[in-house]
Symmetry: C2
Subunit: 431 residues, 2 copies
């Protein structure tokens, strides 16, 4: 039998050079969010399927979740998102935790979908949440954090755009302004959420299918399209300008721009797919013409913790996927050259391995990551291995070197060789 070598469909193997890129990305993410006082948590990748039935939205649970029945008869899911899990964890210790609570995680998530660019079955997602802040300073900070992340990858504000909306404004538009029923409103939110991925005529077709003949006669389609076309808050119909969510949005955008976030705009089509959002929502878009898509999104979801039978906790948070972020970084040429963390390769013949092991230990004690070639091959082959591994320094150990305590240190980039004592090598590699 010959086993196949490909990873599971829609998922990725991370060879060391791929893992280095992931480590770099996750390292930047961790550094930024920790600088704002967020603390990392984690949880099992398996959860009860019930956790997602309540609020994730029908499509995700029924069509996209990896779920199965375990040997004990429990319906379980491989988590498709982290928000229900973190809400569960906060609910479990509702009384003991100190609010405002700032938590983050970079969980591995799975969705059963057709693999495509930037959308895989498996991905990682930075989740950043703040619990216990009812005012919009929570969302304000989250958008600062999101912006800081892109800035820390050395992106300019021309490379991405932060789009912001308010679920309560949407509700106000649908129920008060357009006077739609609750069911029509829900269907429209789902439709608007897909708008940017649809042909305009298709959108109108499906919009018309939701409205009654009477509503169409009253030009509700046109009224809605006018709203959705607004390029800023002032572009909304006058009747909407003074409703509380419009005022809240307006103040937040002003504050963000005042802090230098010149790439923030109002976009009434931003919905976020999940059913649990209850206030301000936002997404960050790549402005590159080849990748003009949402890279991250979040907002306020005050209702989730309360679903676990405890008093509700006001909450806002966002998620940022690793695959879309990696696309962004590559497309804008922001990925630095990442060196092998092994600084020194020790080439040695089989007879001198005992001496080589002692020398390697000495380097490690000095904080130098070094690998010793214990294959027993010819020195030339060992040098080729170091080159292939992109380890830049090679120390050659032979019987003469040991006797004289002078070793050849070869720089693989320049091919230059110097003869040094071990102390000198340590000095050279640690400075």
């Amino acid at each position: 039998m010959k086993l196949p070598t490909a990873p599971y469909k829609g998922a990725r193997d991370f060879y060391p050079e791929d893992k280095r890129r992931q480590d770099y990305m996750f390292g930047v993410l961790r550094r930024v969010v920790k600088s704002y006082g967020y603390e990392e948590y984690d949880a099992p990748i398996l959860e009860a399927l019930d956790l997602y039935k309540a609020k994730s939205g029908q499509e995700i649970v029924s069509e996209q979740t990896y779920s199965f029945v375990d040997r004990g008869g429990r319906e379980v899911a491989i988590r498709p998102e982290m928000t229900p899990t973190v809400s569960r964890m906060v609910a479990a210790k509702r009384q003991e935790l100190a609010y405002p609570l700032r938590w983050f995680s970079i969980p591995n998530l799975w969705r059963y979908e057709r693999p495509q660019r930037g959308r895989l079955r498996e991905h990682w997602q930075l989740n950043v949440d703040i619990f216990g802040v009812a005012n919009t300073n929570a969302e304000l900070e989250l958008i600062f954090v999101a912006d800081d992340i892109f800035q820390s990858f050395h992106a300019t504000r021309e490379m991405y755009q932060i789009k912001i909306n308010h679920r309560q404004l949407t509700d106000y538009i649908l129920s008060d302004y357009l006077q739609l029923t609750h069911e029509q409103g829900y269907a429209l939110i789902k439709l608007i959420d897909r708008k940017s991925k649809m042909e305009p005529f298709r959108f109108i077709e499906q919009l018309d299918a939701i409205l009654t003949p009477e509503q169409k006669q009253n030009s509700l389609s046109e009224k809605l399209l006018d709203v959705l076309d607004a390029k800023d808050i002032q572009g909304l119909p006058k009747e909407l300008l003074n409703c509380p969510p419009a005022l809240e949005l307006s103040a937040m955008i002003q504050s963000l721009v005042a802090h230098g976030l010149t790439n923030v705009i109002f976009d009434p089509t931003i919905m976020r797919g999940f059913d649990y959002y209850s206030g301000i929502v936002f997404e960050v878009f790549d402005t590159h013409p080849d990748n003009n898509r949402s890279m991250m999104g979040g907002g306020r979801y005050d209702g989730l913790v309360g679903m676990f039978g405890v008093d509700p906790v006001p909450t806002a948070g966002f998620g940022l996927g690793d695959a879309t972020l990696a696309n962004f970084i590559e497309l804008h040429n922001l990925m630095p050259k990442l060196a092998n963390e092994t600084v020194l390769y020790i080439a040695v013949l089989l007879d001198e391995i005992e001496a080589g092991l002692a020398i390697a230990r000495r380097f490690r004690q000095a904080g130098i990551n070094c690998a010793i070639d214990v294959s027993g091959r010819k020195l030339g082959d060992q040098l080729k291995t170091a080159q292939k591994k992109q380890i830049n320094n090679v120390l050659i150990i032979g019987p003469d070197e040991i006797k004289a305590n002078k070793y050849t240190l070869k720089n693989m980039d320049s091919s230059k060789e110097v003869k040094l004592t071990l102390d000198q090598v340590v000095l050279k590699l640690t400075k």
Copy 2:
């Protein structure tokens, strides 16, 4: 509906204080293995079930694996171990990779078993492997790495013992010395593997069940028990002393002891559960009477990469589980006190939040992780929150402080307060 808040059975939620302990442990593991030149890789948690059918051993696949059929009709498993995966990855790039290859990973693994102390359904496991070294210097280095890990957690060599054996010695004992059939030998290996967990009379009962009446008459039980009782290589029957695996083991133990690993012993009952081991095998045991169990194990498994239809690659490696390691560290009091990584908490009233945000940014730019309390609560409540979070420094911002550019920095441990300019606070917290 009220959702339950407990995590999935046999798995753990990691609250920030738990995650800090994990980060510390994984940080030490990464530092040590990287110092030997090992590079990190990763792979999807889902694999084709076939990957485990070939070599993992029957019990693991049929009774303990989380497996299911995906929406595309594929039989998949949540990986119970990493060795088949890493073998698959090496096979996929067999020709391109530079040997000796030193790879490690800390994957999340799942097994369906009855949860008990140190054995959970979900755990993490450090996997360290060296590919492309046919001589025993690979095993020698792996045992050095294992020892270095425990030393780096500040364990003494009295706290753990390294037990070593050779699968070829076992084969030689079973087929040449005792002249058992292949089937009897396989059954015995499985039995010996469980020996330390069984009552002695039970072991003899099951041993007798494997042997034929004629073999029992020839005292094979006694002969085997004599072998298994050997406390060092010299304690083996004379006929075994000069077989090649006994000589190899003897040389390796001498070399390890010469390098200071005084806690290495020969133990002929060490088998390792998996079917793929083909040479030297070893395990590290906790010597604490309350936790006298195996914490990690590994050995040579030359046959796995070749199962993917490429030329075989000589391989040795080990795995170390996080739950058993955590037990060891706690039982021996080796866990250091881990501080909150948030160094500074900013207490501020709602009216001064704009100023607070600017001040927080200044601290972050100086590399100080700081959280600002945006709840709008009374200052006293904010101080209590800082205390509960174990953040030791609190900066209090009020209108007078802003006007005078002198802020109160309060040390929560000592309750001492000092009035400082922002520059002075930065200096104090960064030195």
